[in-house]
């Protein structure tokens, strides 16, 4: 059991982070907190990719004459490149989410989910 954690503690931490994010998205009642939960969740996935790409004692993936072709001397650049894209996507998603929240706040005057739902219902009835 303990072996599972010793070698892989960064992975365990990303899973914990994912669960925190998921908890925020599903359990919190404030829309803004849900959005923050989503951000935490996405960050956990970004960290998962980065942790996987990391090597002890390796350097940036730019060709170095002293190191030559030794593959183990360079960090894998692909996950980093992918995650740059993922970060951009996550920023864009947050932007759209915040824009929607502004519209919700203007229409209902609150970001608390139960109250918003209540006001939606009462409008439909009238």
């Amino acid at each position: 059991m303990i072996d599972l954690f010793i070698g892989r503690w960064p992975y365990v931490l990303t899973v914990v982070l994912m669960l925190i994010g998921l908890y925020g998205m599903l359990v919190k009642e404030n829309f803004l907190k849900k959005l923050i939960g989503m951000n935490i969740f996405q960050s956990a996935i970004i960290l998962f990719f980065i942790v996987h790409a990391f090597k002890w004692g390796a350097t940036v993936p730019v060709y170095d004459h002293h190191l030559g072709d030794a593959v183990e001397a360079y960090i894998n650049p692909i996950p980093h490149g992918l995650m740059l894209t993922a970060i951009v996507v996550s920023v864009a998603t947050t932007g759209v989410g915040l824009a929607l929240l502004v519209r919700i706040y203007r229409a209902f005057g609150t970001l608390e989910e139960p109250q918003v739902l209540e006001r939606m219902q009462s409008r439909n009835r009238s």
Partner: protein, 492 residues
């Protein structure tokens, strides 16, 4: 594989179109619709040409920036992706005809952003279909989703709330997919679909592979609104503007279904699929979804919401086909992508027209509308009959293939559910039909919508019939060559 620039044609046209639309919209707001129309007509021509070339000469590829795969990103088009691209663009084009007047009346302030976002949405969807790279697919996935959230958020006062919930769940789905891609990358060191497909057979029995596939399927099912992950769909469709619903409902869930087919049947090979219990799980969940969606649809009094729940049930048919995974079932699933896109867009266009003309949405208020809007409801009736699955409409044949597929797989309970669900569908549509063709009250003032909207509704209605009649040709010539060789019918 033939090297060609055709695969990037449609996404590039749409990207250019979106930018030009925003630019021209700053000067003249009314320029947005004609520009979008031109772009979509061109895209439709390119996508149909691409389909013909692929059918005649075989798969096409394009290497972005000249980098060879698996290092570079590759756009790969085979029969299936060319087919789905054509469906997406042609349906969007038909809905666009209706959109001119509807968008101007429903969301007059947002006319330019609406059409620009529409093109970005289609850019994302066609990109998802055409790309041959798993991570690139995620990026297009998010492009289409972001445009989709914004489109759903326009419309009524409640729309932003449902759009926000859609955004949370949609991002969760995309994140799960990304996580799955991450695991696959850890295992194979590659992101190119063809390359991953050639590496995976050596990894059979690896538990990480099961986790990777489960995460990808879960994420895609969420976007596809497969039961029990359909929670976002009814609200999103009900509160969005009629044009947004008519574009998003028929197309977006289908593209996710396509990606599911791509991952399960093209990236995984049969021996690998047999070791992962994903197929039967998807089939059973989808079968439950058919029943739940249909029953919920019967319980609704708002017509648009009823159609939204019926979408849950109809997407589940595709899920059943994918889950069963037999040759007939896959034909059923792919044919249902097309037939459901045609009928659902037609139905949503009609409810949109009714809402624009009379402001009515509830089932009871549809009384007599069929008499005063004869052309519109002729299309509606055709599409509704196809939804129930009455021959010779398109809906009948896709269910027919699904039933055959279920019999081949020996899954009798699922066969029973697919057949019995036609009765449930008939339940909610006949109830509506009865109202529509009742005698109108004298105070009812409505008539058929303008010429363009009428053309799009009639074309989709007629399409349902034509697809049904021509389906043997269609299955033999287009869908059969599109499926992997191990999953083709023999002797057809």
């Amino acid at each position: 594989m033939i090297e060609s620039t055709l695969p990037i044609g449609v996404p590039l046209l749409l990207l250019g179109g979106a930018i030009v639309t925003v630019g021209a919209g700053l000067v003249r707001r009314s320029a947005a619709w004609p520009i979008t129309l031109v772009v979509l007509v061109l895209s439709a021509l390119v996508s149909v040409r691409q389909l013909l070339v692929v059918l005649a000469e075989g798969p096409l590829t394009h290497r972005l920036g000249g980098w060879p795969p698996p290092i570079g990103i590759e756009f790969a088009v085979d029969g299936l992706s060319a087919f789905v691209t054509s469906v997406v663009v042609v349906i969007a084009l038909l809905v666009l005809l209706y959109a001119r007047d509807a968008v101007r009346r429903e969301t007059p302030e947002e006319e330019v952003p609406f059409f620009a976002l529409l093109q970005v949405l289609l850019l994302g969807l066609t990109g998802m279909v055409l790309t041959g790279d798993l991570f690139n697919l995620y990026v297009f996935f998010e492009i289409s989703s972001l445009a989709g959230y914004a489109l759903v958020g326009l419309g009524s006062r409640e729309a932003p709330v449902s759009a926000f919930r859609y955004l949370l769940l949609g991002s969760l789905g995309a994140s799960f997919y990304l996580m799955g891609v991450g695991y696959l990358y850890v295992l194979t060191g590659s992101l190119n679909m063809a390359d991953v497909a050639s590496i995976l057979p050596g990894l059979i029995g690896n538990p990480t592979l099961t986790i990777a596939m489960t995460m990808m399927v879960a994420g895609l099912s969420l976007k596809m609104a497969l039961f029990p992950l359909h929670g976002w769909l009814p609200d999103a469709y009900t509160y969005a503007s009629s044009t947004a619903t008519a574009v998003i409902a028929p197309i977006m869930t289908k593209v996710s279904a396509y990606v599911l087919i791509r991952v399960l049947f093209f990236v995984c090979d049969p021996a690998l699929r047999a070791t992962i219990p994903v197929g039967s799980t998807v089939a059973w969940l989808a079968a439950t979804g058919i029943v739940v969606g249909s029953v919920m649809a019967i319980a609704q009094s708002d017509v648009k919401r009823m159609l939204a729940y019926s979408s849950v049930a109809q997407v589940a048919y595709i899920g059943v086909g994918i889950g069963l995974g037999t040759p007939f079932a896959l034909i059923g699933a792919t044919l249902h992508i097309l037939s459901h896109a045609t009928m659902k867009s037609c139905l949503f266009l009609v409810t949109g027209s009714v809402q624009l003309q009379t402001g009515r949405r509830s089932l009871h208020s549809y009384e007599g509308l069929g008499r005063v809007m004869p052309w519109t409801f002729a299309g509606f009736t055709l599409a509704a009959l196809a939804m129930i699955g009455i021959p010779p409409t398109a809906g009948f044949f896709s269910k027919w293939y699904l039933v055959l597929g279920g019999i081949n797989a020996g899954e009798w309970p699922i066969v029973l559910i697919v057949v019995a669900s036609s009765l449930l569908t008939a339940g909610y549509f006949f109830r509506l039909m009865e109202k529509i063709y009742a005698n109108p009250s004298p105070s009812l003032k409505a008539n058929d919508p303008g010429m363009l909207a009428r053309i799009s509704i009639m074309a989709l209605g007629a399409g349902v019939l034509v697809l049904g009649v021509a389906n043997f040709w269609f299955v033999g010539e287009v869908l059969q060559p599109a499926l992997p060789a191990t999953l083709r019918l023999t002797g057809m």
